[in-house]
């Protein structure tokens, strides 16, 4: 493996460090955005359906 490659996320899979650097930036921005909000206890992704249904009914859709 060269110095410009990483052996991840799968054994034997290699991609270059430039991708890692780009990912670092995106990851840092996402982490900052996540920290804007409080606890995620008692939440789950599927709640989006409830939210959309409520907003639709309020709009008279």
């Amino acid at each position: 493996m060269s110095e410009t490659e990483r052996d991840e996320p799968f054994p034997g899979y290699r991609y270059d460090l430039a991708a890692h650097i780009r990912a670092d930036r995106a990851q840092a921005a996402a982490r900052r955005a996540i920290l804007d909000h409080g606890s995620l206890f008692d939440t789950e992704p599927q709640h989006i359906e409830t939210v959309l249904a409520r907003l639709a009914s309020e709009a008279g859709a």
């Binding site: 996402a30 996540i34 789950e44 709640h47 989006i48 939210v51 639709a56 859709a61």
Partner: protein, 469 residues
Amino acid sequence: MSLTGLTLAQAAAGVAQGDFTATELAEAALARIAAVNPKLNAFIRVEEDTVRKGAAAVDAQRAQGERLGPLAGAPLAHKDMYYRAGGLTTCGSAIRRDFRPEITATVLTRLERAGATYLGGLNMAEFAMGPTGHNEHFGPCRNPWDTDRITGGSSSGSGSATAARLCYGTLGSDTGGSIRLPAGFCHLVGMKPTQTRVSRFGVMGLSFSLDNVGPLTRTVLDNALMLAAIAGRDPLDPTSARVATEDYAAAARAPRASGVRVGVVRGFFEKDADEPALAARDSALAALVSAGAQPVEVEVGDMARINALSAPLTACEAATLHAHWLRERRADYGAQMRARCEMGFRFSAVEYLAALQLRPRIVADFADRVFSVCDVLLAPTFNIATPTIEDTDVRASQGFEAVLARISRCTRPFNYLTLPGLALPTPEAVLGMPGSVQLIGRPFGEASLYSLGAAYEAETGFPDREPPL
């Protein structure tokens, strides 16, 4: 007027009334494609037999006195990612260059049921990932308004073909702006519906949390006719919404701007903008006000944070879908697609899930706050002058992601927010090229957007402009 110069609504009405046949429409479209497509590279594949067969079936229906659908005989073409059982679907990729799916996308079935015929598969960014219109396997798609400039992407062929009158309308897909951007850069109407409004069964996925199917057309009514044909619950797609559809065509036929509160958002959407793009946005606002809308200034908060949260969703979901091929067929990917997918391997599961679980809270907060002071939002679809194909041929070179992010800056937030967005041409051009604004509505508020869009269309007359081909 030539047959290809008709709108979708006019073409279908003409077939229904017997002014011309579906076969004549199909032949006119094929002749136009043969003459113009070499300049644009909008089609990956023209399916002459398919469209002729479809047209003959519509003509036979009419001859037998059967009731025709609202899109009767209109030749459409679609981004090459909609599965047709037994037909080719390349997804703009080398990996699926010879792929023949065993299923048919619900949206194609519904369009066919509405009477539309199928011309073939359109150029697109590889696996729908890329906002410019470049494709390392099939070549760049070109903008009919200036063939040295980008169409926008990822539904590049959809924008180019519809603007160039090669077909009457198309389906694109929108994960971060991929319907609205080519609609905007090519002077078209483009609808990204509310997340889950349209079935994704049989549609190539990129990011299942953010993917949307929607139409690109030359007029608001054409767009509404297409959405009416495809929208609604689909048992084959358990993620499709159970919320009832509205009569989109009726909304488009009942223009209304009077008293509609249009929220103008600035800040994020004006940052690093090219001034002519903002002047074009202002010309659109003036037209809406002239039509009777009431402008209000709206503060929407830090949209950069929204884009930051959409990044792990797109990257992780795309990386998951492509992980096997990235391991087994890495060399078959274009450099940019591969580089963007690989980013997804870096986010942790907790970061991905946090971005997903924050979404209901953020959507509710945003909608409650914003739509209490306005009925729709107005934002530029893009805030830059249309770049050239050469200047944006960045592949995976250093800094490429900044070039791409600048193009899709204004559209991406609304995918995370799930909201419907209708891209419309601006009265004022941007350095000689089409400008565009997007009207953003409440969840499942597509009918209201069509009604306002139709009033705007009547005020501006934007469909009258044709590209100089």
